[in-house]
Structure formats: structure tokens, C-alpha cells
Amino acid sequence: MAILSESAPQTARRSTVLSSIWQFCRQNPLGAAGAVVVFVMGFMAIFADFVTWNDPTRNNFGVMLEPPSADYWLGTDQYGRDLYSRIVYGARTALMVGFVSAFVGATIGLILGVASAYFGGRFDLIFQRVMDVLMAFPLVILALAVVSIFGTGVENVILAITIPFIPRCARVVRSSALAVRETPYIDAARACGFSHTRIVLRHMVPNVMAPYLIMMTAAVGQAILIEASLSFLGLGVQEPVPAWGLMLRGGAQEYAESAPWVAIFPGIAISLAVFGFNLFGDALRDWLDPKLKS
């Protein structure tokens, strides 16, 4: 009887959300496909314990390099580990690294970008030149430099991916924040004597959320790719943690000819995840951009 007791505004809100989702899917079928990939990936990552039946790190040399079968859907690797389990748990690693680094990088970039636009003048000038220097390095190269300083491991990989994201997000957010800074309500807030922190965080940041969300979504895909690249190079996540790039490093090179499934399935997982996030991010950008919307 919960439905009967639901108030009218709640029902209306839910139907608005559902219709918005429906509208999004109709207008952006590719974006919807990307969203499905992201959703499935997220679901598998969260419920990995329930959708797998083999320990992803358990060695079983009795079944090493088994081809895909009813027992091992995607085959096994050189340690006899179930590739399906490792790919599902690998989604957890990829999403954790992807989301954390994208969220932290984009959020720090958001605050710095808005602050740079708000203060302007010499601070903005110097700050933007620092951003220029950081952006001069390609993402992977900067990430490699950070890993070589701090070492390998999940935490350091997250740090390595987060740092290059900060200037990229700060630059995009700043351009939106420059327009917001000129609006009358910011002048009004200043006139009221609000602190800089309050103006930046309460009045400017909420008004640049669209580019922030878009940057963050796009960054997740990139972060997954960089994590895979670093792990493939032996500089990211380490064995026996299930991670797609690491799976490619471990088996792809040596067993590419005799056991191609060891390389193919992690490769597909990486491609699909990055493709899904990019499609979803693009669609979200179109959806949230008022000009494109109109």
C-alpha cells in the first residue's frame, strides 16, 4: 500500500525523472548505449561477489590456459585463474581508480578554476601559467612521471591520474566561471559582505556544475585507460589484484598465439568501458548544453 500513501508531488517528481531519462535515451541512442555499458559495469563491480563463483586470485595450475568452456566462460590464464572472475573484479578496480581519480581531479579543478576566475588579476595570470605548464605534458607522460616518483600500487595510480586531470578541469571550469563572475548576484553577494570562500563555494560553484559533470564523466573513461596503460607497463596495479591492463601484461604477450583468450577478453573489457564512458559523456554534454538542447 506504499503506492497509495505516496504523495502527489513525489509521484510527479518520479514521472518527471523517468520522462527525462526516456527523452535522453530517445535523443541520444548512442549515449543511452554508453549508459547501459556504464550501468552494467557498475553493477558487476558492486556485486562482483555474487555474479562470480571462482576466486579471482586463486591459482589452479590443473586448469592453466583452459579455453572458454562451460566451467570457465572466458577461459583461464597461466596460473589457472578464472578470466571471467578476474574481468568482473577488474571492473571494480577500473571503476574505483576511474571514479576516484576523476572525482578528486575534477573537484580540485572545479574549486581552483572557479577561484582563479573569481580572483582574476595577477593570481589568475600566474595560476593559469602553472596550469599551462602542467597541461604541456600529455596525460600518460605526466602520470608516468608521478608513478616513477611515488611508486606503484592502487593509491599511487589514483594520485598519478588525478594530478593531470586537475589543470584540464580547472581550465574548462574557469571559462564558465568567468561569465558567472560578471552576473549581478555575485556583485550582490560581494555587497552583502560575504567572504570569498562563501561566494566561490555557495554562489559560483553550483552555477558551473554542468561543465564539471561533463569533465568528470569524460575523465572516468580516460582514467580507466591510463590505469590500464600503467598496469600494462608494470607501473600500476600489481599482481594478484585483478586489473584489465595487468591481465594484458601478464598473458597477452607470452600466450597471444597459443591462448589468445588471455589477451582478447581483457582487451574487449577495456575498449568497451572506455567506449561506454565516452559515449555517455558526450551525450551528457549535449544534454546539459543549453545551446545544443535548444
Binding site: N59, F61, Y79, T152, G153
Partner: protein
Amino acid sequence: MATRRRRTAFALLAGLLAIPFAFTSADAQTPKKGGILKFVVPDEPPSFDGHKETTFALIHPIAPFYSTLIRVEPENPNSGKFACDVCTAVPEPTDGGKTYTFKIRTDVKFHDGSVLTAKDVLATFERIVDPPQGISSARRAHFSMVDSVTAPDDQTVVFKLKYPSGAFMPALATPYNFIYQKAKLDQDQRWYEKNVLGSGPFIFDGREAGAVIRGKRNPNYHFQGKPYLDGFEAIFAKTQTLRVQAIRGDQAAAEFRGFPPKSRDDLVNALGKDVTVQESDWNCVLILTPNQRRQPFDDVRVRRAITLAIDRWGGSRDLSKIAIVKAVGGIGFPGHPLSASKEELEKIAGYWPDLKKSQEEAKRLLKEAGHPNLKFTLQNRGVDQPYTIVGTWLIDQWKQVGITVDQKVDGTGPFYAALDNGAFDVALEFNCQSMVNPLVDVSKFLGDSGDNYGGFKDPEANKLFDSMNRTGDVAEQRSIMRAYERRVLDEQASASITLWWYRIIPHRTYMKGWTVTPSHYLNQDLSQVWLDK
């Protein structure tokens, strides 16, 4: 009669037909001169100083530039016999086995044209045995029996020992003991870290950092007619795939460290008779070293649990399919008369034939020590074969007794920095030796050895090691070795042996004159190698 004549005619004809083949066959065994040998090396040398370094990455590209006082017999490197390099004859000891007098050849020249004398040999061994302050000598401990080294004249070097020792000659024949020029050492003791000047079969012909080291034939080499090659190129290729492909595509003839079974099979399948495979047990072993400066690894119960959790017999069977490891052994090279038999090993913790019992004991000890859910980080080296592969297998072994382990993989530099600074929980390191001589090889497990990364002290082990080296009786040596082994691996568990390495060298068939040895350090001066093409 006619039949007999026909038979005789047939035999003559067959004999005549066989003559060219017989000559071809004999000719194939006669070394040919000329050609450049290209081989791949998995890593670059940290420096050019052989006295300081311990890695094959130095030996493979740099050893061809240097001579040593003595070496293993180059024609038969597995004989266990020694041959002179810059000396005239391998001496018999005098003074009850305590004095060795070497006569130095007069025709040995450094690559700058100067003559090598006993003074250079003396300066070299003074630097190795008793290095000046600030100079690192990796094999100093091997010469603990040496009392003095002198050079009474330009052609004589005398080693006086504190006590007779069977470990002295093998220590002397270590291929890292490059003879350096005294004048250069007098100038700067560190000169050889960044420069090359030897008297070996090849002359340094340049280096492209990260890519290649080149050597060209030494026309004044003191062994007439050698080397056969015009030169060599040591090409650095970090990834194994690249090294395998280099041999497959004939960009290189060999890699002298060793490939895993899968790469051997791939090369044999691809190249057929164009590839020759040589295999040998390897005088190299992966060791687990708990850092006893850190808790809870200062507790012997925890250390014993760590070793008890490992199924070495199963690991040998399984890992030998994918990694360059094979034999189960104790602290000495498996199969050596001084090493433990299978029955003797099975009495040591971690080698018990009953795995369940071993795992239960590990759990009990952890519980008793107050660490039933022990967690630690395994410090490992960023080299797949065999480090990260064995490391990954070990983590699964420990998981079965409730120990959770993360693996921290570092490049060679940071890895050794962590070991030197004691910044690790448990490290997976190695003991690789050149000559198979357990009396010397097991010095690694002493508290006062130069590479005691575990930071422990064990006077009892020192006492056993010392008495083992002082006795000349082999049976007694063997008996003390068992006690020493039990002390290190079981009673104190100050180190855990994992598996011994297995050396597989697939090389292009046209590369001749090279023989696999139990050490990837031995017999690498390339003076015997020639190209049959």
C-alpha cells in the same frame, strides 16, 4: 667372387661418396673467424665496475673486455676445473695449503698497449679483498680466509691464507674479478665505474645508453688465434617478448640469461633446426627475507609460519611450466654432494611431504604469536622472470593459511634501495653465484654477510659456517652444512628458500662454441664463440 668384387666396389664407392660429408662434418667443428655476434641483454649494467656489481647485466656486455687471474676451463666450463687467464699455471698450494703463488704471463697487454704486471693483479685484489674506504666490494666476504696479498716482483703474486680453504680458488675464479690497471686505480678508485679498460678478448667500441654496447676484436689478445669473432653487440631489450622476437627474427643470436619454457617452445616451433636449446640447473635461488628489524617478523613463530605455508614440491611441478624455476633445494645447489637429499629436506619446516600438516602448523604458530590474520607487503623486483611470477604464486600460498599479502614491485634501483634501508616487510630476493661451491655460496645466510637485508644476527650460524670452512673433511663439512641449513631455514627461519632456477638457453644454431653452465655469470668472455655462417 663376383659378389665379393661387387661388394668391394660398392664399399669403395660409398667411401668415396662419404668423403665430402666427412670433411663437411669436420669443417663444421672447426671454428670460423669473423662476424659480429649480436645478443640481447634484459637489463643495462648499473655501472661498469665488476668488483662492485652483482648483476648479469654487467657480466654479459662487459666481461668480454676483461681478463681475470684464473677462470673455469673455457672449453669445458662444467668440469669444475680451473684454467689460467693471465697466469702461467694454476699453482698447487704450499705451506700446508695456506700459500698460493701465481706467475703472471709477460705477454698480456691492456687495450691501451701497456703491459699487465703483477702490480695490476695486486692492486685489483687489494681492492676486492680489502677495499679503500667508500669503495664497495660485493665479494669481499668470499675472501675472508685471505691473510695477505703481495707482489714480490712484476711476474709474481702471492696469496697467504689464514687457514687452508677449499673456497679460495672458486672465489678467485669468480668472473667479476676483472683485472684493473693499477695506474688508473691510483688515479681514481672510481674510474672503472664509468670507464672500460681491460685486457680481455674484446676492446670497448662504444655504448649507446639504453640501446647497445659494442666490442671489437682485440688483435693483441694473449691467447693466440682468439677471439674468433670480429666483434659483438650487446643489445638491451627489457621485455621478454622483444628478446624472443629478436632471436626469432634473427636480430640477435642468443640471450644468455634464460627463457621460460613457453618461449623455448615458441622458438623451437618457429625456427626448427635453426635454433639449438641448452638447459641446465641454475646456481640461483629465490629467497624470502623477513625484515627482522620490524614486528612481527622479529618473532621466529611468524617467520616459521611464512615458510611452512609454502608448498615447494607442488610449486616445482606447477611453476616450472611457466617460469624459470624448477628444483626444490635447501641452501646449497641441488645435486651437489654437500647439498641436502630429498629425505633430508623433508625434515625441514616448509619441505614436509604432508602439506596439510604444514599449513595447520603455520596457522597454529600465527595464532600463538597473536597474528592469526597476518598482513604484510611483499617487496619484489620488477622483473617478471621469475620474480613477479613466483611472488604471485607465493601470495596465493599464504592466502591459504590466512595471510594477506600485497605485492610491491619496484625497479632494480628502488628495490635495492628499499632493501638497503630496511624499508620492507618481507623481500623476495636472490642468491646467485658463479662457481658451484656451497662452502662459499651459503655465506649469504650469515648475519654479517654484506647483503644481510633481514638485519638479523645469529652467532650460532656464524660458528657453524666458520667450522665448516675450516675442516678439510668432506663428510664433516656435509654434516655441519646440514646443521647450518637447519639453523637458517628451520630453527631461526631467518631466510626461506623458495625454488631454484632452471636455465633454458635457446640460441641460433649458427652460434657455436658456447656451452651452458649452471651460472649465467660463467664463461661469458665470448673468446670461444664463433659463427657458423
